[in-house]
Symmetry: D2
Subunit: 181 residues, 4 copies
């Protein structure tokens, strides 16, 4: 897997003016997800309580029997879940997830749509549907997030510093700011 | 992500003598999982109703806040689940999974241990524990697999043919032989 | 708990003409659910891929801290799930369920709405929302059912015979016809 | 369903000396669970991070096809989960649960064993196995609890007052002290 390229938001986070728009902040936090990037997952849309991600299936998403591996599909769904859960301006971390695999997928673009079904002070719950290019359901996911008091833009500031020091050391220093797991 | 290298088992599957040892077969099926390989997950041990996998965390497993992304951890757990579920000589496909994220992980080697808790004619259920290098629980997973009548070594034969034709076309021709999802 | 009263559908099932309307059949199968009846759960509406059930909270639904016990809420949700899953004329049995408890409920009428999100030859998946009288989400449920080939009205015929013999013996003789779990 | 009988622990909680033994407290909190009592579930053993409950199947646990309803089995498992989760002296509330139904059960005594697999400051996770009299697995459950700071014996004091006022009013006044959901 290639090293993640330099991303514009990184230097912005480290040095620049912070947007007060919570959706701009969540987009920047999500853009720093290197595992989603490695998987080829893209955040297409995010608004309060909603997010949509897509992933074009590649050969390296397949398992030993030529269908998309569960972990690749989970990565796509979890990415949408994280974006929707963090869309309110404070940090939310994944706590519980469940996923039902309905149909094998082998190629084409998969879409995951996360809709928040519940929002309380401490938790939020999203349903996520993963569909194939023909609109057929590939998998159904539900995730519960624990909502912290930390503002989301503090994550960007911490990340900027962490990446300046190198990710491993930064991660050790700040393991609790798990904005999107 | 690099192209998956040529694997010895592939040509063996296509042309060679097949082992009658079900564990040898499941190892070969699992070795063909390109998404697990891309994630760096390794199958360390498999026996009937049990499997253990490991993954050394890398920078590209991390998300926007410098901790391992849920999809990376799921990939590791699902890989152990698939190996244990397919350890009886017939094809098992993942149907339902649930995962609780207990602790953020940032570096070091994670281990997933899958133990089959139930085995009936049509379904099997595994609990999987993901622990960090210090033995602390990072995540807990449970998966239900649907058990087919197809012998597992038929998967290898089909895969050999599919990969000769190229994975996309092969996958279209044989989407139902989802040995490990 | 009182003994379940004699139900009209029982004698009809044992002796009478069977309706060919699958929804009439599912209503009769569901009416024979004595645990749902003991809990006070009612099937209010069922159509293909959809069901709605209600339950008025009573003191004996409460746990040690005066809120509705998880099992009472699960019973309501599972009853809606079973009705929706069996709405296609063949037997479906619950395989996997997950439930997130969002808000404590203490009194009033709870409603569970089950919507089928996926239907394949062998499985179906429903999302169920449990809401309180004010429309607030109390719990979110997802269930996967395994679909058998058995027609649903055969369940009624078997049940008629089983209850003539007494439920325990009948159950031993026919443990596989688990129409609704 | 009969009205729940007067329980000795109630007057003790309202008026008497409180035990400092956390297991004595959790037993008393669990003894106040009227839904578990209505279902016939009994708490047989509880120690830190572990609990065992039993339930003798009755006719009124059965569904329309003469097997134990999912909600009856869930009630048993959830009761063990609640006891184990509240065994540390502070209040824990159920957040997420998942349950796989492996085998239909029709009669005899079911046992649920809850083992805590993870305990952090804010959450705990239990696996629960439900087995029949022959030791065969009937269902597998996992639950995540959110751990509050409230001491568990405060629940007993609040409950004593609530039941003096009548349960509905008490519940309205104190819906947040959800010791066992």
């Amino acid at each position: 897997m290639p090293k993640s390229p330099v991303r514009p938001e990184r230097s912005a986070a480290a040095g620049g003016a912070k947007s007060k728009d919570p959706l701009a902040v969540v987009r920047r936090v999500m853009a720093g997800d290197r595992w989603a990037a490695a998987a080829g997952a893209r955040l297409v849309e995010v608004r309060e309580g909603y997010a949509r991600t897509t992933l074009r299936l590649r050969d390296d998403h397949l398992n030993g029997v030529e269908v998309a591996q569960g972990g690749a599909i989970f990565t796509l769904a979890d990415y949408a879940f994280a974006a929707a859960s963090n869309s309110h301006g404070t940090v939310a971390v994944a706590l519980d997830t469940s996923m039902t695999f309905v149909r094998a997928a082998t190629k084409g673009v998969l879409t995951a749509e996360a809709r928040e079904e519940s929002l309380t002070r401490r938790t939020s719950v999203c349903n996520v549907r993963v569909t194939d290019a023909g609109g057929k359901v590939v998998a159904l996911f539900r995730g519960t997030a624990f909502r912290k008091d930390d503002p989301l833009d503090a994550v960007l500031a911490a990340r900027g510093k962490a990446r300046q020091r190198g990710p491993r050391e930064g991660a050790v220093a700040a393991p609790r700011r798990t904005g999107t797991r």
